[in-house]
């Protein structure tokens, strides 16, 4: 019922949604994060801490399942080198009720952003390379859950 995948492979949003929908309930919420074209981004490299990633994502998913009534949670996060427009992350939750599905999906994304051990390094069109820094708005979004 909880499915977590971390790796370089792309994901199929339609197929993953069907997988969640197939586990019952009539309310499926999802979020897809992609590499955003902000004008001069050439590529993005995603590094992670393999031994910890699965555990951290699993704990977030378990917390969602304990705090909302859910039939299924799927989290897919890519690593490696990505280009503008590429998929990065997919979170899908399935519930009997839309608020539970949408809220838990939002919760998982907020926690994932501040807890899961991934790091993004961006390469600009001019060759400049920079590790992306933590955003205060992500920390606030994560803390507002009080759970």
């Amino acid at each position: 019922m909880i499915k977590i995948e971390v790796g370089p492979a792309d994901f199929d949003i339609g197929a993953e949604t069907l997988h969640v929908a197939g586990q019952g309930g009539g309310a499926i919420a999802s979020f897809v994060g992609q590499v955003r074209d902000d004008g001069n981004l050439a590529s993005l490299e995603l590094e992670h801490y393999p031994a910890m990633t699965q555990k951290a994502l699993g704990e977030i998913a378990e917390k969602a399942v304990s705090d909302w009534v859910l039939h299924a949670v799927t989290i897919v996060h890519r690593v490696g080198k990505l280009s503008v427009g590429d998929n990065i992350v997919l979170v899908i939750t399935g519930s009997d009720h839309r608020q539970a599905a949408i809220e838990s999906c939002s919760f998982i994304m907020d926690k994932l952003k501040t807890v899961a051990p991934f790091w993004k390094k961006e390469t600009r069109a001019d060759g400049a390379v920079k590790w992306i820094e933590e955003r205060a708005s992500d920390v606030e979004a994560s803390e507002k859950w009080k759970r």
Binding site: Y49, A56, H77, V115, E134
Partner: protein, 87 residues
């Protein structure tokens, strides 16, 4: 008996140190993550510089988040990395 721990680095910490992991012996006086950081800094000046600002670092002991004040205990792996930026 000599303890040792595997220290593993990520993102700009890894890049600036030029190493992704190392096995380190811990003397009996080493109790907390902060103690490990001090020891690394004393051993090599570059470490002191890169690991100086603990506010900019995050730590995990055996894949669970810890603070600089956390006790090492019998942990086998200490990870040192910047705040995460996935998603």
């Amino acid at each position: 008996m000599a303890r040792s721990i595997n220290i593993i680095y990520f993102a700009w910490v890894r890049e600036r140190l030029g190493i992704d992991q190392e096995q380190v012996s811990l003397g009996d006086e080493i109790e907390t993550i902060a103690d490990v950081l001090s020891m690394l800094g004393e051993r090599e000046a570059a470490y002191a510089d890169i690991l100086a600002d603990v506010e900019k670092l995050r730590f995990a002991l055996d894949q669970d988040y810890g603070l600089s004040t956390s006790l090492i205990g019998s942990a086998k792996e200490l990870a040192i990395f910047p705040p995460v930026t996935g998603g």
